[in-house]
């Protein structure tokens, strides 16, 4: 059967046959880097189009439908427009920080790609502390936002950045706790092992109520961490015009824009890996026939299907709910999510020790 | 309170007020009587004019007239208070401490007619630019730049 893993192995063998092993490593790194950038570009195009279409359908509109068949090339045209636009650096900004911030945002998003298992045996870097790495790197994003907000020399940007700082720091806790429940259940920090532990069923089903609760908390925290509505306070359009990226234009703005969507993709991919079994097909108990049919579907389709389902849910939130206020946002975290998350991790530990999960 | 009662009550407060009956009674007062009359209208239990729904000025070329439209949300009677002002140096006591809505309305009249409101907390131009010359709603106002003559 055709798979990414076979393709990767093929390339590896071909290169080894031609080159010195250290050169192979270098070439492979470049290939991986290029494909990561390619994936980013592709994801950006797909996700922006998806957001526009999803929002349009929810808002009883048609959405973009002029450029290309059914508007499929709309984001390509938008990207082209942003590429050729003049990148304005306003007077009075801190040039180094102002110009650097979008790149930091992109780099933080790219780093997160490493431990994600895209398909069976297809992973850039299967490090043994994958989950820890993810939660560490995902908080780097706030640095980019703070840099952008501070250096813009704009009060709206500053307010947006400060809000974002408070928001991401507090929601890291809930996200961490809900990730921890799965670590407790799976007994490993390694992404591949977490996925492997779900061969007989996904944690969201296997882990009883605590895992389900953790999943909900994770979804909320993920929405907040990626600064999306109803938690988009750092760019709250009706209050702060565009928040931390008010002063950005052209490609620098596009990088922020792209980073936001990549972040959405990555948190959803992690959510899918931890709770929905990553690339694992859906298996139900002893229904051998059903399980076999499910195995026929390629693992990459399983992974992307689950991820895009979660992305759709997050978009659904965005286009339904009003925005919270800053104090309510922190209330939600410290008064509701964090206590529930703490009780939940106790429960899940009990479940894991007593072996009550399936 | 009917209009007749209202007129009688007003003349109790200040006999010098001349009141025309009409749809709504029109009280003509001196600008100097206003600082005393306005709180009385607002605070007196029988009158209780607590709602100032219109405040404006009319330029009669020889003089200006301040017009206050008052009503009571309790008794539902109306009163129009008018006060003649000198056109060269128009000045009257503010009522923004009695009816808060007057603050904005008086600022508007200040810039449009040039009426000075004594003791107004924040008498600046509200609508026009700060360096605007002249009073646009006066009858003799000419603006060759912004006015289009058809």
């Amino acid at each position: 059967m055709w798979s990414f893993a076979a393709l990767a192995d093929l390339i590896h063998e071909e290169l080894n046959a031609q080159l010195d092993p250290s050169w192979v490593l270098a070439v492979e790194m470049i290939l991986v880097g290029l494909s990561a950038i390619g994936l980013f570009a592709l994801l950006g195009l797909v996700l922006v189009l998806m957001e526009r279409k999803v929002s349009a359908f929810m808002q009883i509109r048609l959405g973009p439908n002029r450029v290309g068949p059914a508007g499929l090339l709309q984001t390509l045209a938008d990207t082209l427009k942003l590429l050729v636009k003049e990148g304005i650096t306003p007077n009075g900004v801190d040039r180094l920080m102002f110009n650097g911030a979008p790149f930091i945002a992109m780099i933080a998003a790219m780093l997160l790609l490493a431990p994600i298992a895209f398909a069976r045996d297809f992973q850039i870097w299967d490090l043994n502390i994958g989950v820890l790495y993810v939660s560490a790197v995902s908080s780097l994003n706030v640095i980019a936002i703070l840099m952008a907000g501070w250096s813009s020399n704009n009060k709206y940007s500053l307010l947006g950045a400060m809000r974002s700082g408070a928001q991401i720091v507090s929601y890291e806790l809930s996200a961490g706790l809900s990730v921890l429940t799965i670590v407790v259940l799976a007994g490993s920090l390694q992404m591949s092992e977490i996925v492997a532990s779900q061969a007989d069923g996904w944690w969201v089903f296997k882990g009883h109520v605590p895992a389900l609760l953790a999943f909900v908390i994770f979804l909320i925290a993920a929405t907040a961490e990626t600064n999306r509505a109803p938690f988009d306070l750092s760019e709250a359009e009706s209050e702060l015009t565009a928040g931390f990226h008010t002063e950005y234009s052209g490609m620098k703005f596009a990088l922020f824009f792209l980073a936001e969507y990549i972040n959405v993709f990555i948190v959803c991919a992690i959510g899918a890996t931890l709770f929905l079994g990553g690339w694992m097909p859906l298996h139900i108990g002893h229904w051998a026939g059903f399980n076999q049919v499910m195995d026929w579907i390629p693992s990459s389709i399983w992974f992307f299907g689950k991820t895009f389902f979660l992305i759709f849910v997050i978009m659904w939130f965005r286009w339904t709910f009003p925005r919270l206020r800053i104090d309510q946002l922190l209330d939600l975290e410290w008064k509701y999510l964090l206590p529930i998350g703490m009780v939940n991790i106790l429960l899940v530990t009990a479940v894991a020790i007593l072996g009550w999960h399936f | 309170m009917t209009n007749e009662e209202l007129i009688a009550r007003l003349q109790d407060i200040d006999p010098s007020i001349s009141v025309d009956a009409g749809e709504w009674p029109n009280a003509h007062i001196e600008a100097t009587a206003w600082p005393v009359l306005a709180p009385a209208l607002r605070l007196c239990d029988e009158l209780a004019f607590d709602y100032l729904f219109c405040l404006t000025c009319v330029d009669w070329k020889t003089h200006l007239t301040m017009v206050y439209h008052l009503t009571s949300t309790r008794h539902r009677h109306h009163l129009v208070v008018k006060s003649k002002l000198d056109r060269e140096a128009p000045s009257i006591r503010t009522v923004s401490d009695i009816w808060r809505t007057a603050e904005f309305h008086e600022r508007e009249v200040f810039e449009m007619f040039g009426v000075h409101f004594e003791e107004h907390p924040d008498l600046r131009k509200l609508i026009l630019p700060d360096d605007w010359q002249g009073y646009p709603l006066r009858k003799d106002y000419e603006d060759p730049v912004n006015m289009i003559k058809l």
Binding site: A56, F57, M58 | -
Partner: protein
């Protein structure tokens, strides 16, 4: 007691959020409810109501005749000087000098489509057209002369 309140608080909140999501989810799935009008494409069958006020026009018949006597009632009725009627004197068949319209100048850029000129016209010489795509590159193109060159007053219109 406190815990009960806390939990019912949360369930109520989540319930209200789910209700909203159900509504948007319904519209996501029922795409036939979309109300978008694909404007430049549906130009042919858009069908504006006959009372729609797009611009003032002066209808002419096949003999290039209009009904405007040049009485300037419309000019007087117009609140913002949109219409300027330039009159001339014509000698008619009986040798009498008669006032007639020379140029009926209409400033579309000033017009607010208030319909007062059409109400004022005693001979129904002007009417509102449903054309609404007025944008041009030069403002001067919006100043129009409504009576066609060489056009005459229709017979019998006083």
């Amino acid at each position: 007691m406190f815990l009960k309140e806390y939990i019912s608080d949360i369930t109520g909140a989540v319930g209200s959020l789910l209700k909203g999501m159900r509504r948007t989810g319904y519209y996501f799935l029922h795409r036939g409810e979309a109300i978008t009008q694909q404007y430049p494409d549906n130009r042919d069958h858009m069908g504006l109501p006959e009372r729609f006020r797009g611009e003032v026009v002066m209808p002419h018949n096949e003999q290039n005749e209009h009904r405007c006597t040049g009485c300037t009632a419309c000019e007087l009725a117009c609140p913002n000087g949109t219409i300027k009627v330039v009159t001339k004197f014509e000698v008619n068949a009986e040798g009498k000098r008669k006032k007639a319209v020379d140029r009926f100048i209409y400033h579309l850029e000033l017009c607010t489509m208030c319909n007062l000129c059409i109400e004022a016209c005693p001979t129904d010489a002007i009417k509102m057209a449903q054309h609404f795509e007025h944008s041009v590159y030069d403002r001067s193109q919006l100043t129009k002369i409504l009576n066609r060159p060489e056009s005459k007053l229709q017979d019998g219109v006083e």
